[in-house]
Each structure stands twice: as C-alpha cells, then as structure tokens.
Amino acid sequence: MSMLELRKITKSFGAIHALQGVNLSIAAGEAVGLMGDNGAGKSTLMKIVAGNFPPTSGEIRIEDRSVEFHKPIDARDAGIEIVYQDLALCDNLTAGANVFLGRELKKKFGPFSYLDYGAMYERAGELFTELKSETRPRDLVQQMSGGQRQAVAIARTRLSDPKLVLMDEPTAAISVRQVAEVLALIKRLKDTGHAVILVSHRMPDVFEVCDRVAVLRRGAKVADKRIDETSPEEVTGLITGAIETA
Amino acid sequence: EYTFALVPKAMNNPFFDLARDGCYKAQEELADVTCEYIGPGEHTELEQIQIVQDLITKGVDGIAVAPSNAPAMAKVLKAAADAGIPVMTWDSDLLEEDKALRTTYVGTFNYDIGRHLAELVQGRHPDGGTICLQTGGAAAANHNERLLGAREQLAGEKLGDPPGTPLTGQGGWTEISGCPLITNDDGNVAVQGMTDILAANPDLTAFLSTGAFTQWFDNAYRQAAEPYKEKMANGEMTIVVADTLPMQLQQTKDGLGNGLVGQRPFEMGYKAMFILKDIAEGKAVEDPIYTGLDVCSNENIDSCVQ
C-alpha cells in the first residue's frame, strides 16, 4: 500500500502547463528524489501535495483513500508536512514561535485561552536537540544563520509526527556541514518509517539518501527509477533531455 | 495687573488679525492689562478647546473666546467658572442654554449679517430670481445663522432652525442646484466654487457669501468676477459678501462686487479687554454687546466703514 499516490496530476497557470499528467507513489519508509530542470514543475507538484493549491485535474490518494486539500492545513491534517524552498519563516518572531506558527499551544483560564509559552519553548527546544541543532527557541530568527533557520523550518515538520515529509531544495543554500546534517535527518526519518520526497538539484545528495529518483521534464515525468538501477550520468541526461525517457 | 486671553477661531484668518490689533490697542491704553492673543493655527475645534483648557490651568485673569464649536466650548468653560475666571464670548456666542457660562457676548448679531446681505440683494432685484449661497466650514454655527437670516429675509417667512431650508420660490427667490457651496474656509475652494457656479448658470441673479473667504484671494477673485463686471454694473447680477476687509472694500469700489456687510473685529478685540477688566473688577456689564454692522453698497462704499 502506498502512503501517497498521485494520479494524473495536471496543473495549468493560464497558458502555462506546469504539470501534465504526473503519476507518483511513495511508500512508508521510502525516500524519493524529485529532480528536474528549473521550471520543470517540482515545486508546483510539492505545493499541490502540501495543499497550497488544488491540481487542475488528477487525484491525490493517501493510504488508498482519495483526498482533496483546500488549504495547507488540510494536508497537514492528513499527515503531510513540507519544508518550503525559501523556508518561509517570520524573522520578527522567535524560533519557538515560528515552529508553532499556525498551531500554537494554548492554556485555558476560565473562558480565556492563551498562548502557552512555556510548553511551546520546551517542545521546540526538544525538537532542536533531536535535530542536533544548537538553535535556542527564544532567539529571534532575524539574526540566525542559514543552518539555524533551516533547523527551524525542519523542526516544524516534526511537530505532528507526519507520515510524509516534503523537502523542497532544503540543501540549496546551506553549507557543506549543514547539508550533512539535513541528509542525516532524512535518513533518520526513513528509519522511523516516514516517507520523504526530496526535491534537489544536487545529484550527490539525492544519490546518498534516496531509494528512488523521479525526473520531471517540462511538467511530465520522464523517469522513475531505483537509485541502484541508474547513475548520475543517466539522470543528468534525463533532466536535460539528452536522454528522452527511461 | 491682569492678563486677558483673546482666543480666535483660527490665527491664520485675516479677520481675526484685526481683532488682535484692537486687543493690542486696548493693552496700550489700559496700563494694567496684558493682551494674550492665542488660538489654533488652523481652524480646528479640538485644539481651540485644549487651548482654553490650558489657559484656565495657567490661570489667566480672563478669557474672551470665539468658540468654533459652541456646545463643546461650553463644557470647558464650566471649569473656568469653577476657577473663578471671568469669561466672555466674542464673534460667535454659546448656545442659548449655555449662556450662563459667559458674562457677555461682544460681536455681531450673525442673523443680521445674512439679513442685511439679503436686503442688499433685494434692493437690486426687487422681483426676485435665482440665487446661490456660499458658506464656511463644516457646520459653523455663525455661518448657519447668517444663512438663515439671508433666507428668511429673501423668503419673507420663518424657515426653522439655522441654516433654514433652501428657497424654492418663496419671495420670488429660488436657490439653484449645487448650492449652497461649502468652502471649509478655504479661499481657493471658495473662488473656484463661485467661478464654476457663475459659469454654469449664466442667468444667475445673485451670489451671496456669508464669509470673506470668497474675496480673500484678491487677484483670483478679481479674475473670477471680472467677466461679470458689466452685468453687475447694469444691475443684471449681484454679488454680495460678508465682512469688510481692506481688499474687499477695494474690490467693491472697483465694481467687482455689489455689497458688503462688515463686522467690526477691531472693536471686538478692543472692547473685549475693557469688558473683561470690568468683569474682573466686579462691575456689571451689558449682555449682549453688539458692535454693529457696516452695510456697504456700491453707492456708499467710500464712507460705509466707520
């Protein structure tokens, strides 16, 4: 049984056909690398799965049930978490506040419910420790390093123990050392039975942690292979179009 | 040694400059009186109230105020009564029910300004006609009284509370659509409004403004009125405006207007000091004290102002 199954997903923005009938499935404990040229439609596909906008046509199935996401929260409720390409953090809030943004913990006092700072900071602190990041929950994101920011964005996906984690180029902008940490995290996620989709332009990263690699070209899936059955050269060819399909 | 405050509605209105001059004149004449002329820079109701409050706090020996917002001012003046500070009004008065709060009013009977202006119009056009009225700021009480005076005089009947209701033929007079014009005491707006109305209604019989703002901007007004000079000269059309500031007199002399009804702001400022001194010294004063009006037409323009 697939954790997630996408069937004939199509997405058009006016005249631009960003996705044209993409099928993709992923099982629990599996990591799939999603590669493709700029504009191939990777982020669009991720956003559809994350509930940012609905597909023009096609079906999303989770554990064999058809679902429809109208907003990000729907996807989240279905157990899908995403790390966006640009991280999407509020610089003027603390790391802890960012982790819990949109799903703050509250306490009740009579009819009033109010933000439970203590609980949020504590939990955020635990998450950062889990991620082996030295991020302090009470620090403002404003002046955090790229790696710390990344940790905050990733920590958000850990709030709800999701079934599927989408990562849109989580390693594009960070340093060599931090890349290693993110990759280690993906491995740990797999080990604990999570499904991961990793969007990346970095061949070595994909080959290091993924079980399968899917390649998009101009909105269509042109390949979907096990890592051990392909090579960086072949994938490059598929991305650029030098190799038609595989 | 007395310090008396003279509070105008706005300090950037030339009308009140004359009152200030009167106030300073009185200060020279009365050895023991200092005139403190202070008010809001622009016409703002709240600021005037705050200034009066502060004057009470500061403990001046008397206040003469021209309230912009009469009911609101009345509330503040209660504090003056508590503090034992003599209070009088000038230029504009408090509402009927608040009159106990001030000892007297020195100024004009505003209703009469409108009435005289209307009389000037009627004198030139006994058979009536169409008319456009122009007035001042948002809901200014004195202007509304003048409007009522003008309307009732033209209509020959009572028209209720100020500013009355637009004329629809009473006494032979009809107000055209688009009027009355509101200027918010802005000279530019006033001239533009008059220009457009005269252009849109070439047959208009009379244009009556309850405030000097129409004629403040000397040059602009002259340009606006120039095309109608002949019509005004031969009695086909009439423009009358309240107040008798220097530029207004000259304009009327030049045939660019047909009548003015002047107040005596200098006298208001001047008298206010004497009255306050009398009150402070426990003497009885009259209530109200009208400073009188100068009614000017093209005929008496050289001699109408005292």
């Binding site: 620090d139 790696g147 | 109701e45």
Partner: protein
Amino acid sequence: MTDQTTDQELRRHPGRGPMDELDGMDHAAIDESITSRQEVSGIGAMLRTQPFWVFMAMIAIGIVMSFVSDAFMTERNMFNITRNFAFFGIMALGMSAVICTAGIDLSVGSLLGLCAITLGLTMQAGWGIEMGFLVCMATAAIVGLINGILIAYLRMAPFVVTLGMLAMARSIAMVLSDNKMIYEFGPDTDLFEWIGGESIIGVPNVVWVLIIMAAAFWWVWRYSTWGRWVIAIGGNAQAAKLAGIPVERMIVSVYMVCSMCTGLAAFMFIGYTGSATNGMGVTYELNVIAASVIGGANLMGGVVYALGAPIGAALVELIRNSLLLAGIPALWQQFFVGLFLILAVLLEQLRNRGGK
C-alpha cells in the same frame, strides 16, 4: 534583516543599508559568529523598546516643566492632559495593529467625523444611547470592512485605499449631516455626555477606557493567537500564509479593529465635546500615525507595542501643553511635534544599527 527583505527594503528606503550590507546577507552569517539577539524578558527587554525611551523623554519634559510652570503639576492640568491624549491613544492602538501588518490607515480622521454624524443623528432622533453606540460601531466596522476587503482580497495598496476612503467617508458625513451641527442627543444625553466627559475617582472616563483598551491589547499581542498571527503577517505574510494562517481574513479583521477603535474614540469624543460636526477629525490621521510611530510602530511592519500608542499620543499632547504653559507661542507647537517625530525614528534607527 534577511535575504527576503533587503531588496524591497532598499526600494522603500533607497539608500538604506550601506552598500556593504547589500548582499551577502543571504546565508552568509556563520553559525559561530552569530551575536544572538534573543528575546530577553523582563526589564532588559523593556529597556530596549522605543516606548520606554519615549516615556523617559516624557518624564524629562515633565521634570523641566514642573520648574517652569506651577500650573503644570496641578491635578487639573494632569486631568486635561490625560483626557486630551486619550482619544488619540485609543485610535493609535488600532492604528498600531494596522501598521504592524505594514499597512496604513489614512481614513481614521474622516471616519471619526462620519461616526460622529451617524451617532449624532441616531441619538438626536431619540433612539437612545445603546442604539447610538451600535450605529457608531457599525459605521466604523463597515468602513474597516471595506478597507480591509479592498486591501486583502483585491490587493490594493493600503495607502491608496484608505486615501480614497478618507475622501469618501468625509463626503458621506457631510451629506448625512446636511452640514449641520448636532448637539442634541435625545433622552440619553446626560448619560452620553457623562460617559465621554466625566470622570471616576478623579480620572477621566476616556482615560479609563484607554487603560482598559491598552491592557486588552497588551494581552492580545502577547497571549492571543490573533495577536501572534498579526505580528507574523507583519513579519512575513507569505510565511504566515504557508503556515496555514488565513492571512486575508486576518488583514480584514485588522482594518476593522483599527476602525472600531476610532469608532469607540468617536463615541467618547462626541460625548466629551457635546456636539457632532462632519468636520471632526480633519487631519487627525496624521496625528494618530505620528503617535503610533513615535510609540515605536515600524512602518515596515512586524513590530507592535501595546503601550507605544498611548505613550506616543501622550508625548505629542505633552509637547503642546508644555509649550503653552511655558509661554512659547503656539505657532511653534507643530514644529516640535514634527521634530520629535523625526528624532524618535532617528534614534530608533541608530539604536538598531548599533545593535547589529
């Protein structure tokens, strides 16, 4: 400052950020060299806020004034000062929320006039104070709703929308009032005027309202999700949206809150003045914005202090009052208000730069 703001920020403040800060801010800061700027709690945090320093400036002016004028420290003067700034303070509380989302509301002055008229007409017609209050707040809510919808859903610039509303609301007030002053408020006149104009244990009622509102906003900014979300939107609307926050609805609610603060201020204000004219509130928007900014609101969004608004309003009023009591011609007043506005922001600027 991060990668997301630099360019656009530069556009709005061309020249902001010396050349050497222009890029390299992306992910350049190495973890180790981070001088962490953390959310300090308690006194330390307070010391860093603009409202605190403005408050200090007020204390300083107060001390000087108590030597300059005997009248300054009197109960009556304090009474007047607090009452005078309370109206602006209430309006500035709402404005701060709008500014926190990087918006602006230029229509509050006109709205004050419009509320004055709808409220006045209702009560004059004998409907009683409850109905008057409802109509006043409904007027405000509708204006805020329209502003908010145009800004959030039609994505128009707040400056343009509220500038248009400034003109329209004033015009409607004129039409409704037929340019007449209203000073009779029907059966509940006494109660109405008591609420707006009188005091309880020596403190003007409107000041009590301000205190309660400021406390409520303090709580909201600190402990409610609404407050947290508004701040998040001010920081990064895109991120807030992606986090599942209903950004459009929040924006609409923020403009409504701002308008309704003005509605409340109008209710108190008319009770205080005892009369309503359609000219009320002309140019108040500038005072209210100035008060908010002096109180620490940042036009770039993302920053809000509940106490900033009242403190900013208080400083402006204090300047006015002090100049008059000190015998400095009133003509100078606006000069000092403008000067303080610029200085407040300049200091904030320098302070921030130093901290970096």
